[in-house]
């Protein structure tokens, strides 16, 4: 892929070796979990109590829709899902690798990191993620 991979969203962490993870934070005061880094807890308003954690890359579909019309130029249809990651939080993303009519509430999915195919102005790839179906134990 050429160039240094760049995270497409702030909560994707790309390591020096190119491996990816979901970065999150947990409030030590109330236990709320967030995607990405933050200073103040939106749930309990505690300051200085956020701790960085790695988020799970497995979870379950909470709700989903098949997007049949999007902004002009965007390929459709695709499935969008809100997934409850194991241990939190919920994330919105594209659910790939499954026919829309086969998607079920509560179905097990895992996070897969992918080159989005898009490049920044310097030719570096934007690294995104999507959800893909997984078995109950989290394996494909």
């Amino acid at each position: 892929m050429g160039g240094a991979p760049r995270p497409a969203v702030p909560y994707i962490h790309v390591a020096a070796d190119g491996s990816c993870a979901l970065a999150g934070s947990r409030c030590e005061a109330c236990g709320a979990v967030y995607a990405g880094e933050r200073e103040v807890c939106a749930a309990c308003c505690a300051r200085g109590r956020m701790r960085s954690i790695a988020l799970a890359t497995q979870g379950r579909v909470h709700t989903f829709t098949t997007v049949c019309r999007s902004f002009p130029g965007v390929p459709v249809p695709f499935v969008m899902a809100v997934v409850d990651l194991d241990g939190g939080p919920a994330l919105r993303g594209t659910l790939a690798g499954v026919a829309p009519q086969a998607v079920r509430f509560g179905m097990r999915v895992r996070v897969e990191f992918r080159d989005s195919g898009q490049r920044d102005a310097d030719g570096n790839p934007w690294i995104a993620f999507c959800f893909v179906p997984a078995t109950e134990d989290g394996q494909r």
Binding site: R6, A8, V9, A32, V33, Y34, A35, A42, A43, H62, T63, F64, T65, T66, V67, C68, R69, S70, F71, G73, V74, P75, V76, F78, M80, A81, V82, D84, G88, P89, A90, L91, R92, G93, T94, P100, F105, S116, Q118, D120, W126, A128, F129, C130
Partner: protein
């Protein structure tokens, strides 16, 4: 504490007016509302002007350049689709505080066709790669969640569009005035399941205005006969919810505002004679039945099936045609909903009159994917 009243309320016919300016649309609505109570812009002591797409361009001042530069304080208001209701509420607050006795609240919007928003430019384009930021997709997720919890069907959501399009045939100021049978709604182009094109609100141009008066001013001017009392004005922003950051929620925010509104008004959902609620998409109407307490949680599908929320039922909802068919000019919507309630409580709603209407509720939400939500609820009663 003395009450605040609406003494004038009116709106322009919602349509597309590409040749007209935003201040011109606002001016027409303002003059209609002033005419409705026989007052003039010289009588107004302050103006709150709601507009979203020109939020940084002093639409309120430009409105006064059209109808009279009297030097009154002007506040330009933006709060997503809750913009108009927020402008109204700010005027109400000022009257409650005794800062003025007569105020004008205007909401106006000029919109293009097609879906709200657009693709990001100059960086990573997330649309399609990491879900969708489109508004119909956001409200599709909300409908699907209702289906997950309560088994609500595609057909039940579609019935909302059938009902509201029917209501609009009775409203000369509605954008679309055509019947849409259930089969037609369900067979229309799928936008985001379960929302077909006929289950999405219409982007139109529009403006609406209301004249608010203190009790003392109503008495002094002798305008009590057609005055409508503001029994409650409540607002909320989205409270913490673990999934709200993943996809914006409009339910908790509505429940917060509703609780406050019913408490202020000293009544409950059972006391309402009609409701204008934020049916930006057909799924929204059903979830808001429950959020506003019009039925128990899980009963919204059965409520639309029963026909009781149609004109002639025991609690008509969106008899104006709603956002789905009357149209949804973002900044104007909140005040247009209020105009409908005022007209109904005065018994002046013509063919779509809810017989014996004494108490009505107007609800709007605003927000978007990744930016949060707002809710404004007003309860009105016959004076």
């Amino acid at each position: 504490m003395s009450g605040v009243y609406v003494i004038g309320a009116d709106m322009i016919r919602f349509d597309r007016f590409p040749e007209r300016s935003v201040p011109a649309l606002a001016a027409e609505a303002a003059l209609l509302a002033l005419d409705d109570c026989g007052l003039g812009i010289r009588d107004m002591q302050a103006l709150w002007c709601g507009n979203l797409y020109q939020a940084s361009a002093m639409v309120g001042q430009r409105l006064l350049r059209e109808i009279g530069m009297t030097g009154i304080p002007v506040v330009n208001v933006a709060n997503a689709c809750a913009t108009g209701a927020t402008a109204f509420r700010e005027a109400w607050l000022a009257l409650r505080a005794g800062a003025c006795e007569l105020a004008l609240a205007v909401g106006v919007e000029q919109m293009g066709k097609g879906m709200l928003g657009g693709l990001e430019t100059g960086g990573f384009v997330a649309e399609g790669v990491i879900g969708s930021d489109t508004t119909p997709a956001m409200f599709a997720l909300i409908g699907q969640e209702h289906t997950r919890r309560h088994g609500t069907t595609f057909e039940q959501f579609a019935k909302v569009a059938v009902k509201n399009h029917h209501h609009a045939t009775l409203n000369p100021k509605a954008m679309y005035r055509v019947e849409t049978p259930l089969a037609q709604v369900m067979a229309a182009e799928m936008i985001s399941y379960p929302l077909t094109k006929l289950m999405c609100s219409v982007n139109v141009d529009g403006a609406a205005a209301a004249v608010l008066a203190s009790e003392a001013a109503v008495k002094r001017l002798g305008l009590g006969r057609r005055a409508v009392l503001v029994r409650a004005s409540a607002m909320a922003s989205d409270p913490w919810d673990p999934r709200d950051l993943a996809s914006t929620d409009f339910s908790a925010v509505t429940r917060l505002a509703a609780r406050s509104a019913y408490e202020q008004a000293g009544l409950g959902p059972g006391d309402l004679d009609l409701v204008e609620l934020h049916d930006c998409f057909a799924t929204a109407e059903l979830v808001h039945y429950e959020n506003l307490g019009l039925c128990a949680d899980g009963e919204a599908g059965r409520l639309i099936d029963s026909g009781e929320t149609a004109l002639g039922g025991c609690l008509p909802v969106n008899v104006s045609g709603g956002l789905l068919s009357k149209g949804h000019p973002l900044g104007a919507t909140g005040i247009a909903n209020i105009c409908e309630i005022v007209q109904q409580l005065r018994g002046e709603a013509g063919a779509r009159q809810v017989q014996g209407a004494r108490v009505g509720l107007a609800h709007v939400v605003g927000g978007g994917q990744g930016i949060g939500s707002a809710c404004a609820i007003h309860v009105f009663g016959k004076a």
